[in-house]
């Protein structure tokens, strides 16, 4: 509203700038050669001053004076400019009218085509201090980040931000946030378990020793912490101790209260682990690491393990080349590359995935969002 008022005011001002001289009285200006004469006389005066000060030799001054005098005579005798018409010619009248009209019409017309009057100014500071209910998630996070950059000792802030990072897939930042929260607010089962999950995800789904320790610390604080128990079972599975993993999940499933959100994942994990054991022979090479591979990986040094993971990722990549309509596969591939630190490949995997799925489809968008969460934006 204010904008329209200001725009109208500006238009009015601009139109007046055109209109005012048109309606003003006609100030008679001297003819052109009068100006010339004035300049020449000024030159003469200047010459006299220089001569008086001894800057010019008298003979030179005399010569120059004669020359200027000739110019004055020439200017005097030159024809007067055509007499100016005091009144309005028809064409002049029309032009004046058009000029006054053109300013508002042209401006409002152009602005209608080019402007975006409905978008308000959005200074960053104002956006970050507005009512949280009106903010997008990104804005809220940016706000929290800004706050924490200024007050890095605010443990509660880190505590709030950490699970949000985790959910958005910004795992490295989640790790930092959880660590800060634990450092400043003290350890709690939820924070330790969160840290473990963040570490696990940051590591591409492998429960590293650091993550395992975090989960174990969580269980010390709260023996029934479901997330910690769940992931410790995953760790067992990854260590090749399938039977123990299944047992752990079975106990956990039995102890979980009715309506716990963990019932579903536990049941799924259990079923998967059991079916995998049952189908050890009839395995599908590209469906991910098999039990045997897992066992092999567990007994390897970290360098070898990385090499093996890379081989498996390459297998997945190959499979997706043959069968590209697999959204989850693409997501896994992008994440694997990110975990391996191969940003370039991750980007290209994302590109290929989007090409196969179609960037505008539901699945394509899912992949885009997922990748963005990992810090891999769609390249333009």
């Amino acid at each position: 509203m204010v904008f329209w008022f200001v725009a109208a005011l500006l238009t009015f001002g601009a139109s007046v700038a055109v209109l005012l001289p048109l309606t003003g009285s006609s100030r008679r200006d001297s003819a052109g050669n009068q100006h010339d004469l004035a300049v020449y006389r000024d030159q003469l005066a200047e010459l006299d001053r220089d001569a008086a000060r001894g800057l010019i030799q008298p003979a030179d001054a005399e010569q120059a004076r004669a020359e200027i005098a000739r110019r004055i005579i020439r200017a005097d005798s030159s024809e007067e400019m055509p007499a100016e018409k005091a009144g309005w010619s028809a064409a002049g009248r029309v032009l004046g009218g058009v000029a006054v009209l053109v300013v508002p019409l042209m401006s409002w017309g152009l602005y209608a085509a080019l402007g975006s009057p409905d978008i308000p100014s959005q200074p960053l500071e104002a956006r970050l201090t507005q009512n949280p209910a009106d903010s997008s998630v990104d804005e809220l996070i940016a706000r929290a980040e800004g706050h924490l950059a200024a007050n890095p000792q605010d443990g509660r802030g880190w505590d709030v931000l950490a699970p949000i990072y985790l959910r958005l897939g910004r795992f490295d930042q989640a790790v930092t946030a959880y660590k800060n929260a634990i450092r400043l607010e003290g350890a709690s089962a939820a924070r330790e378990a969160g840290l473990g999950e963040a570490l696990t995800n940051a590591g591409g789904g492998i429960v590293s020793s650091g993550a395992q320790q975090a989960f174990e610390r969580a269980l010390v604080l709260e023996p029934a912490q479901p997330k910690a128990r769940f992931f410790l079972a995953v760790a067992l599975l990854q260590d090749g101790k399938s039977a123990e993993a299944i047992k752990a999940w079975e106990t956990m499933g039995a102890e979980l209260p009715e309506g716990s959100p963990w019932r579903e994942p536990v049941a799924q994990a259990l079923a998967e682990a059991q079916s995998r054991i049952a189908a050890t022979e009839a395995k599908e090479p590209a469906a991910g690491p098999t039990q045997a591979e897992m066992d092999a990986a567990a007994s390897m040094s970290s360098g070898d393990r990385k090499a093996m993971i890379e081989t498996m990722v390459a297998g997945l990549d190959q499979k997706l080349r043959e069968n590209p309509q697999d959204t989850d596969g693409w997501m896994r591939l992008v994440r694997s590359y990110v975990v391996l630190g191969k940003t370039q490949e991750a980007r290209s995997a994302l590109g290929r995935g989007l090409e196969a799925l179609g960037a505008a489809t539901e699945n394509g968008r899912k992949l885009t969002e997922f990748s963005a969460g990992l810090g891999i934006p769609v390249s333009e």
């Binding site: 601009a14 055109v18 005012l20 006389r41 110019r71 200017a75 309005w88 959005q122 500071e125």
Partner: protein
């Protein structure tokens, strides 16, 4: 605020259209009221453009990422200074600055042009209006800085890191003040062609505008050269790069214009030539804008460009250059020619100066555009670089520079070359002495280098000679001399100082080109290296966190003979995460007029760092000479006699009457 700025810019465009038609028509038909429209419309147009520019600056300061331009070129963590300078650190913003300066100069003509004949004033403002309208249309249609982004991102993409520098804060505005300052001379020239006559006031107006524009352009070029010197980490001060040439051509033509305008003002001669030069100089400015903005030429200074913009600017270029030259061809014959003079005279010297400078500008133009022509004709891609320019431009400049001291010593109309030569004997002797002592006392000095030093000394002393002679040395007592020195017009000092500044720059260039030493080596912490008598110890790399970058600072200690630390030099490799872009910050230690320049390369596998060191003797003089030239221009500009229509305070009765009718 953003939309208000956008609207103001559109209004300014509408007003520019009115400005380009109404006063012109008024002048044709002798309609006073229509002519009078020019002034208020020009001033209002400037106010509106300033409002638009303020709105954009505000968006940068407040990190309003709902503006596409801000999002593309800013970052909330960027230091405030670079948020502000970032406004013109990009294509759209810099074009807006260009138009802002254009309308500002137009407004100055409108406000202070009261003593101009009404038709001349109306025509000048109309021509300014054409330029303004064309560039405003260009901005609005192809490079609108007010394009919005919805929803607004929460963080921007940051400004190209090498542009986050104080040098950039100053360089483009100065350069544009220069480029656009010549637009006023251009408008006066075209207005004179439209009217078919050159007023006596014409020369008085054109000279100070040329001078002012020249001062800014000199500053802009010197600043840009220094920026490239320390920011790119290559240690070079001039690359003969198309973008540099783009600013150098208007400078050469503008320098010629500056000199021919003197002849025109003092002697009413060379009128038509001066008019043509005024057109050419601004044409070079437009060409410069086109070359930089279109990206048709490969340049080390090139940034990502959009070809569609190039086509638009090319259109503007053809329209204005072609149009004005056609008008010149049609009308120049009708203009009254000016006075006559002998070949050996001040006028003759200035004509010679013009001949050299315009030929030099043409050489640079040919070298710059030749690759384009060849590619269009044969498809071959070639590049014309420093070897070409050094040969052609160099061989044109050396005789010109050698002749410079003679010019001011020659009398108007008919000069005496022998007398002038005699008076310069002392300067010549000292210069010769400089040549000989360079050869004798400096190791590895070539004859060419010694002659170069001699040339610089000759120019400086030649300029001093002029001042000393005008004080009447020998013929008068000390007191008289002093009072004469005080009474000398400031423009005389300006001339001498400008020629001296040129001599200083020549000394600096010769010093660096001939006596520079360089060493590239891999250094490990604790290692020392010696270069031209300076011992440097590498202290190691230290990571440092900047506001929007991280850097590895390579610290070097400058040691004296007793191994004591005299100074620390820090050269660093920066990394700007927002753009994923590394930059090199050169470490520079100034010692007297010379500099020690340290640039870091990559780390090697065995823990060392590639380091490039230069000893650059007299390098400061290159830019100091530029500063002296700027100061000279400013002094000349402050000469009362140049200030347009300034009534003389000590005027005689006749002049008193005149100044009344003038103001």
């Amino acid at each position: 605020m953003v939309e208000t700025g956008h609207f103001a810019l559109i209004l300014a465009f509408s007003l520019a259209l009115v400005q380009s038609v109404v006063p012109l028509f008024g002048a044709r038909t002798g309609n006073e009221r229509l002519m009078a429209v020019g002034g208020p419309v020009t001033v209002t147009g400037f106010a509106l453009t300033a409002l638009a520019f303020a709105a954009l600056t505000m968006a940068y300061v407040q990190s309003d990422f709902s503006v596409l331009n801000v999002w593309e070129n800013s970052h909330s963590l960027k230091p405030m200074l670079f948020k502000i300078t970032g406004t013109w650190g990009n294509h759209e913003g810099s074009m807006l600055l260009w138009v802002l300066i254009l309308t500002f100069f137009g407004a100055l003509v409108a406000v202070f042009g009261g003593n101009l004949p009404a038709t001349l004033r109306a025509n000048v403002l109309a021509v300014q209006g054409w330029i303004g309208a064309a560039f405003l249309l260009f901005i609005l249609t192809t490079s609108n800085p007010f394009t919005r982004l919805a929803p607004a991102p929460i963080e921007g993409r940051d400004l190209n890191p090498i542009l986050q520098d104080i040098g950039l804060a100053v360089h483009p505005p100065l350069l544009y003040l220069g480029y656009v300052g010549f637009s006023v001379c251009f408008s006066f020239a075209v207005a004179a062609l439209i009217e078919g006559r050159i007023d006596a006031a014409w020369a008085r107006w054109v000279r100070p505008w040329t001078l002012a524009a020249w001062v800014f352009l000199t500053g802009g070029i010197a600043m840009g050269s220094y920026w490239a010197y320390y920011e790119l980490g290559w240690g070079g001060f001039w690359f003969w790069d198309p973008v540099e040439n783009a600013s150098f051509m208007p400078w050469l033509a503008g320098t010629a214009l500056l000199h021919s305008a003197i002849v025109m003002e003092k002697r009413s001669a060379l009128k038509i030539w001066t008019l043509l030069l005024a057109i050419l100089t601004f044409s070079f400015s437009l060409l410069g804008t086109f070359l930089v903005r279109s990206g048709v030429l490969t340049s080390v200074h090139a940034f990502a460009t959009d070809p569609s913009r190039g086509v638009f600017i090319l259109g503007i270029l053809m329209l204005f250059i072609g149009g004005s030259l056609a008008l010149f061809a049609l009308r120049a014959g009708n203009l009254a020619a000016g006075g006559i003079f002998q070949p050996i005279s001040r006028e003759g010297a200035l004509v010679l100066n013009n001949l050299f400078l315009t030929t030099a500008a043409a050489t640079v133009l040919i070298g710059t555009l030749y690759p384009l022509v060849i590619e269009a004709l044969s498809g071959d891609k070639i590049s014309v670089g420093a070897p070409f320019f050094n040969l052609t431009f160099g061989s044109l400049m050396v005789p010109l520079l050698a002749l410079v001291p003679f010019g001011p010593l020659l009398a108007w109309k008919r000069g005496d070359i022998h007398a002038a030569a005699q008076r310069l004997m002392a300067a010549f002797a000292v210069a010769l002495l400089a040549v000989l002592s360079t050869l004798l006392f400096i190791d590895g000095a070539t004859v060419l280098a010694a002659l170069g030093i001699g040339l610089g000394v000759w120019m400086i002393l030649g300029a001093l000679t002029d001042i000393v002679l005008k004080s009447g040395l020998g013929a008068a007592s000390g007191k008289v001399m002093l009072s004469r020195l005080r009474g000398l017009p400031r423009s005389v000092y300006g001339t001498a100082l400008a020629h001296m500044g040129l001599g200083l720059s020549v000394l600096g260039i010769v010093g660096v080109v001939s006596f520079e030493t360089e060493n590239i080596l891999t250094m490990r912490p604790g290692q020392t290296v010696e270069l031209s008598g300076h011992t440097l110890r590498f202290d190691g790399l230290h990571p440092v966190q900047g506001p929007n970058f991280t850097e590895d600072q390579g610290r070097f200690e400058l040691l004296d003979d007793d191994q004591k630390v005299i100074a620390e030099i820090v050269s660093s490799k920066r990394f700007y995460p927002a753009r994923q872009m590394p930059t090199t910050e050169a470490g520079i230690k100034t010692m007297g007029l010379s500099q020690l320049y340290v640039s870091l390369g990559d780390e090697t596998a065995d823990g060392g760092v590639v380091v490039r060191l230069w000893w650059k003797p007299l390098v400061i003089l290159i830019w100091f000479g530029g500063l002296v030239m700027m100061a000279a221009g400013a002094i000349s500009l402050s000469d009362r006699r140049l200030r347009v229509g300034a009534p003389s305070r000590r005027a005689k009765p006749l002049a008193g009457k005149v100044s009344q009718s003038q103001s």
